[in-house]
């Protein structure tokens, strides 16, 4: 290769160009498998889904089904409730982690990440055991004399929200923590030196500065909530079915694939709009873009 320096200039230029060309081809070869795989096994199935939703006036039909309307209302109610609880609790955890030293942060993050790594069925199973009539929660409530008979904690909306908040908390803690970590701590010192107390530092400095991060986290959590399928079945009652369950009902019980596809695309459209808003908030807040 040292000989290459002795080669006359035009020839060297040609080599470079050829090399660049080969290099270009090389990276396309590297990209092709993933692109091809996604085209065949992701975009094609979605395309078929769109095609099958266009049969039998599926959209009109599903939107006139009172069960669909019911599941849509359930989805909005349960998702809103879960998101609210998740954000409040997630903010609390994020602040506590933020106030710790580096090592303690990693330990507390690990506690938040344990449920994140655990599958939804394991979590739902644990909640079903804890919340059943003779479960630990009811025994504790009876032991403390709060109630003298077991409360119905399972197979209702309460259990669904508990299970969902447990699932969703990690998704709220990390973006809120990122927003807190981005605060310039001189601002807080300045507020304190100007005489601001504990509460007003939080209310007038920290909370406003983390508001974009919190709304992004809230939107992310809400987006995830709308797709829940397993939790309403395992922890909920018949009145707590969400839109994903309705899609499953149309497909598996009614074998009405046109209707199921139409509902699935309505859910996808809703999620896509929310994701677009989410990315706009993130960009405005200067935080990480999704991905």
């Amino acid at each position: 290769m040292p000989l290459a320096t002795a080669v006359p200039a035009p020839a060297a230029g040609a080599t470079t160009r050829r090399r660049t060309l080969r290099f270009r081809k090389g990276w396309l070869l590297l990209l092709a498998p993933c692109a091809l795989f996604d085209a065949v096994f992701f975009l094609t199935p979605l395309g078929r889904l769109v095609a099958s939703s266009l049969h039998d006036q599926a959209y009109q039909r599903v939107l006139q089904d009172p069960l669909v309307i019911r599941s849509l209302v359930n989805t909005l109610e349960i998702s809103a409730l879960s998101t609210l609880a998740t954000i409040v609790l997630g903010y609390l955890l994020a602040v506590v982690i933020w106030r710790r030293g580096p090592l303690m942060r990693v330990i507390l993050f690990a506690l938040v990440l344990l449920p994140f790594w655990t599958g939804v069925l394991v979590k739902n199973f644990a909640w079903a055991v804890l919340l059943q009539d003779n479960g630990m929660v009811n025994s504790a409530l009876q032991g403390l004399g709060i109630t003298d008979h077991p409360l119905a904690l399972l197979h209702n909306r309460f259990a669904v929200v508990v299970g969902m908040v447990h699932y969703l908390l990690p998704y709220a803690v990390f973006p809120i923590f990122a927003a807190l970590a981005a605060i310039d701590n001189r601002l807080e010192l300045a507020a304190r030196s100007l005489g601001a107390g504990e509460l007003s530092v939080f209310r007038r400095v920290i909370l406003p500065l983390t508001a974009p991060g919190v709304s992004a986290a809230g939107l992310l959590v809400f987006i995830i909530s709308t797709g829940f399928f397993i939790t309403p079945v395992v922890l909920g009652g018949p009145g707590d079915m969400m839109i994903a369950n309705q899609i499953g009902f149309y497909a598996l019980q009614l074998t009405d694939f046109a209707g199921a596809s139409a509902l699935a695309l309505l859910l996808t459209a809703m999620v896509s709009v929310l994701v677009a808003v989410y990315q706009r908030i993130l960009r405005a807040g200067g935080a990480h873009e999704v991905g």
Partner: protein, 278 residues
């Protein structure tokens, strides 16, 4: 730090029950696997291995474990290969359509699992593939590829594309560039990607439920079917197995965090990961 932490001590007090809320449900399933009674209660009355041996001698459960491992094997292999190579290919390159392409690669993360399940069901049924573990593995690979793409991309963020160019101008062939420039840099990303892909596949329930057949029922699908009738010790055993796997994943991630605390590149992933298998 002392003053800073004591300042928010009411918040700390309030946070302790929330941490308990987060961790306790995951942890109680392990002792439940060693329960003696036919029905599940916590805390377990007597320590016993009955449930574990019952699980191991029940072909319905052991074949579910095998099916899950096969699907995860397909998913991890494909996701790491496809996601990793795409991340390397896109590294430091600008071209029209780049954002669109990245969007397509990441999209499976935000499409709700139920939508994917329905789409995969219709697609693989029309191909006549439902009935084996292959469609579940392929579907899980679609969902897991963005994770491997993101982790490898994150590990590449410290690599200046000019380094690659200078390596090549110094005469390194593509094989040497791959081995001596890319591989050392992306290795942690590949490991993390494989871990995420495994976790996604081993826990995924909705898609596997739609694509299930008597010969291809994964562990979460078996759990989901049984859990609707009874809370049995065998579900506790499989939960304990999944928690053990989750803990291993968590430990690897924590070691990543400790190794480069400043560069917490694996953290943003958690917030971006909107896999909706709830």
């Amino acid at each position: 730090m002392k003053s800073a932490s004591s300042r928010f001590s009411p918040a700390l007090l309030a946070a302790v029950p929330v941490f308990v809320f987060l961790v306790v449900p995951t942890l109680i399933v392990v002792p439940m696997a060693f329960n003696q009674s036919r029905y599940i209660t916590f805390p377990p009355a007597h320590f016993s291995l009955d449930a574990v041996s019952g699980f191991l001698s029940d072909p319905a459960w052991t074949s579910a474990v095998a099916a899950s491992l096969q699907a995860a094997g397909i998913a991890v292999g494909l996701a790491v290969l496809l996601g990793g190579s795409a991340a390397v290919a896109l590294h430091g390159r600008r071209f029209p359509g780049r954002n669109l392409l990245t969007g397509v690669i990441l999209a499976p993360m935000i499409v709700p699992a139920i939508v994917l399940a329905l789409a995969f069901y219709q697609f693989f049924t029309s191909l006549g593939l439902v009935g084996t573990i292959l469609p579940i593995g392929l579907a899980h690979a679609v969902v897991a590829t963005p994770y491997a793409f993101l982790t490898v991309r994150a590990s590449l963020s410290g690599l200046n594309p000019a380094l690659v160019r200078s390596a090549r101008s110094l005469g390194a062939g593509w094989l040497s560039v791959a081995r001596f420039v890319y591989l050392p840099v992306i290795r942690p990303g590949l490991v993390a990607g494989a871990l995420f892909a495994f976790s996604v596949s081993i826990d995924e329930t909705v898609i596997a439920l739609f694509l299930q057949s008597p010969s291809a029922t994964t562990l979460p699908v078996k759990m989901f079917t049984d859990i609707q009738y009874n809370l049995t010790p065998k579900i506790a055993v499989s939960s304990a197995m999944l928690v053990t796997a989750a803990t291993l994943g968590l430990l690897v991630q924590v070691s990543f965090m400790l190794r480069r605390r400043s560069n917490a590149r694996m953290l943003p992933l958690t917030s971006a990961a909107a896999d909706q298998t709830g």
